[in-house]
């Protein structure tokens, strides 16, 4: 093969010679090595993912379950200054000053002996309150309720507890007075200081409100910028400068946006602290460059022949853009948007700076109410003292992952629905 000129009377390639065979063997070996390395890379990343998911789901699944104790409360014997009529007339007001907590503690002591009140969660009386609100007539008789158990019992029921709690649990379960059920309130209530009463809804709602603000600001601004830069802007040094700036903005660490939000939105514009509105604006600043970049790439991918054809039959520039270019680029833009939003959803640092790390015991009612957000809630719970918060933290991570997967699912659906091939 030393001479480059191919001669017509060249001898046929010697496939069986040792040199050739060795070369072929080397090529196959290189191929196999590459395939093995690629497979290894996939296995390693899949392994990490599987480890993360198994660890989180295993721990998190326990966070979604809750141990309950059976408690018989004899309301007439408790002598509460409360009548069924008063509750029926003014439900909330009638309860003020009534020591229902004490009545529940007494009932527990009577049923489970001394120290019985410590088997119950601090919020066990809330179950009794809700039972009274549901049906005020229970005040006239004795009722049996399933109330949340204390953290120590809850941990013992999921077999990892301290010896004393384990013994107490064994005794209770022997008598059939304890059960473990799905903790619905975890999905419907907000933050609490007691791990048996916490819920993720407050933080989830905060995150959803924040994401709504982010989307409504970042999407139109990002898409309009991308369209202008691609379709209208002249190519000169100024637009080059803008392009470089946008690329740089996409790479700025998120904490910087948090500081910006603190300085501009809170201290200059006096917007409310800890509010989803401010969180959303801050995250929109962070998400916008991602949308611009994804949008420009998607618009570049629309074939020029489509523009030419539309212009050729007399469409104006705006008609070309909105009737043809944008609908064809939309799948790419939406994918980029949702990836940017998913990143914003998992962002903690900027939210800490603008005060969305507060303890908020009621879910936010609107965009300006103080609120928490999912990643910040995970951070806060990981910092809690009580051991019961460990599994709740994992459960919150599971919820965050589920929301992220849902968002990615929407991205894939939209892409497949609107995608055009030509």
């Amino acid at each position: 093969m030393s001479d480059l000129v191919v001669l017509p009377d060249r001898a046929p390639t010697e496939w069986r010679g040792t040199a050739m065979r060795r070369r072929i063997a080397r090529r196959y070996a290189a191929e196999r090595r590459f395939r093995a390395l690629g497979l290894l890379a996939v296995l390693v990343s899949a392994g990490f993912l599987a480890f993360l998911l198994v660890a989180m789901l295993g721990e998190g699944a326990r966070g979604f379950r809750q141990t309950e104790l059976s408690l018989t409360i004899d309301f007439p014997a408790a002598h509460l200054p409360l009548t069924a009529q008063a509750v029926a007339r003014e439900p909330r007001r009638a309860m003020i000053g009534v020591d229902l907590e004490g009545a529940v503690a007494n009932a527990a002591e009577r049923q489970y002996g001394a120290g019985g009140a410590r088997l119950l969660s601090d919020g066990a009386w809330l179950t009794a309150r809700d039972a009274i609100l549901r049906d005020p007539d229970v005040l006239g008789r004795s009722i049996t309720l399933w109330v949340p158990a204390a953290t120590s019992i809850d941990i013992a029921a999921k077999d990892a507890g301290e010896p004393a709690a384990e013994a107490a649990y064994a005794k209770l379960s022997g008598r059939g007075l304890v059960r473990t059920v799905f903790a619905w309130h975890f999905l419907t209530s907000a933050d609490s200081t007691d791990p048996t009463l916490v819920g993720i809804w407050g933080a989830l709602k905060g995150s959803l409100l924040t994401m709504a603000v982010t989307l409504l600001l970042a999407f139109p601004i990002g898409v309009l910028s991308a369209l202008y830069l691609e379709e209208y802007a002249p190519k000169n040094r100024w637009t080059d400068l803008i392009e470089v700036s946008i690329n740089n903005l996409a790479a700025v660490p998120s904490i910087i946006f948090g500081l910006l939000g603190l300085a501009v939105f809170l201290q200059t514009f006096h917007l409310p602290r800890s509010a989803p509105l401010v969180g959303g604006i801050t995250l929109a600043l962070m998400t916008m460059p991602v949308i611009v970049i994804a949008g420009r790439n998607a618009i570049k991918g629309v074939p020029p022949s489509i523009r030419d054809a539309a212009l050729g039959i007399g469409a104006s520039r705006v008609q070309v853009v909105f009737h043809h270019v944008l609908p064809l680029a939309l799948p790419g833009i939406l994918t980029g948007t949702i990836i940017g939003m998913a990143r914003a959803l998992g962002e903690t640092a900027p939210l800490l700076m603008i005060g969305m790390r507060a303890f908020v015991a009621t879910p936010p009612g609107g965009f300006t109410d103080p609120s928490s957000a999912l990643p910040v809630q995970i951070f806060l719970w990981s910092d809690e003292v009580s051991a019961g918060f460990i599994e709740k933290t994992s459960a919150a991570i599971v919820v965050l992952l589920a929301v992220l997967m849902a968002m990615n699912g929407v991205a894939i659906y939209l892409r497949n629905k609107f995608e055009r091939r030509w």
Binding site: L126, L216, F359
Partner: protein, 351 residues
């Protein structure tokens, strides 16, 4: 037909986006109907517990918002001024300083009500699998952790270098960062006491107080004292991984984690509820909340919240069950009277 979907979606998003960005700026902080508390991460669990209980007892009010950002940062926010965007309550794991009080007054926050809610203890703790220190003295800790103990560079590498009676375990201590009130209290209660056990340092205090303060409270920066952030759980995990190391904790955390951690006695006194409540344990320190006088009438529920707080710190009470150590009876009676009458802090008593 197929192109109508994306266009309708797009139009909706664009329109609402423009509408929203138009109204953003006009909707600034109006008056607030929720109490806002900021400050110490040590007081945070107690204030959040109160915040949670408050709307259950008083259905007319919303639950207060509580942020944990450290005593110093909290007081800075608190002292920022008067109005809806400034907090009503500052949690503090030490008393307010003169400089902070002056800052408050400069910004128009003149009336501050100081309420001592209870006591916490600062404890050195080891993993239950640790070297099992029998006891430490303030001087041992000072010599092990100060940057320049008694003015000379710190060369101690093991606890035996500090005191021949201690085990030959390398010095390695995880503790809170300087922004933390726990760190301030640690420097004041333990390091300064250990430092002033040397008569020369007491003499220096009279001669050059600033220099003495630096020598007594500056912690070594050669890697043997490790700042571990405000997250106590993280420190506990590090101790489990490295049982030779020690950690600095508040007692309320220690009490909840007896399965993992063992508090090391200080001067032979173990950190327990009784020893801290009687101040016999040297690392005991009071915890405070500061309430803004000017907000008492403006923020609905603030008076009721303070009264409720004051009703919950008795032994066996709601906060006691959550790990707060009740103050001695006489202090409690005095602070209860203060909380009821909402007497402003006397500037002369602030140091």
């Amino acid at each position: 037909m197929r192109r109508k979907g994306p266009r309708a979606l797009l139009a909706t998003l664009l329109l609402t986006g423009v509408a929203l960005s138009g109204c953003d700026m006009s909707d600034s902080a109006a008056s607030r109907d929720q109490i806002l508390a900021v400050g110490s991460s040590t007081v945070y669990p107690f204030t959040t517990a109160m915040a949670e209980m408050f709307p259950r007892k008083y259905p007319d009010f919303k639950a207060p918002i509580v942020e944990s950002n450290g005593t110093g940062a909290g007081l800075k926010l608190f002292c920022g001024g008067i109005g809806a965007r400034f907090p009503d309550i500052a949690d503090a794991s030490r008393r307010i300083k003169k400089s902070e009080f002056d800052d408050c007054r400069k910004n128009g926050v003149g009336e501050i009500v100081e309420i001592q809610i209870g006591i916490d203890g600062i404890a050195m703790a080891e993993s239950v699998h640790g070297p099992h220190f029998a006891t430490l003295s303030e001087a041992d800790i000072y010599k092990a952790l100060a940057a320049d103990p008694y003015g000379r560079p710190n060369r101690a590498r093991t606890w035996r270098d500090v005191n021949a009676a201690l085990p030959p375990v390398p010095i390695q201590v995880y503790g809170p960062p300087p922004s933390s009130g726990t760190r301030d209290a640690f420097a004041e209660l333990i390091l300064t006491k250990g430092c002033e056990s040397d008569p020369a340092m007491q003499a220096l205090k009279k001669a050059d107080a600033d220099k003495q303060h630096a020598i007594c409270t500056k912690i070594r920066e050669d890697g043997l004292f490790i700042e571990a952030g405000e997250n106590d759980n993280l420190i506990a995990q590090k101790l489990a991984a490295n049982p030779q190391a020690l950690g600095i904790f508040g007692y309320s955390f220690l009490e909840e984690n007896t399965a993992r951690l063992r508090g090391i006695p200080l001067q032979g006194v173990a950190p327990t509820y009784q020893t801290i409540a009687s101040y016999r344990y040297p690392g005991a320190r009071p915890l405070f909340i500061y309430v803004k006088g000017a907000h008492l009438n403006a923020v609905p529920g603030l008076r009721e919240f303070v009264a409720e707080y004051a009703g919950s710190w008795n032994p066996g009470g709601y906060l006691d069950r959550r790990g707060l150590i009740a103050s001695p009876d006489d202090v409690r009676a005095k602070t209860l009277a203060q909380a009821r009458a909402l007497v402003p802090l006397d500037p002369a008593t602030v140091e």
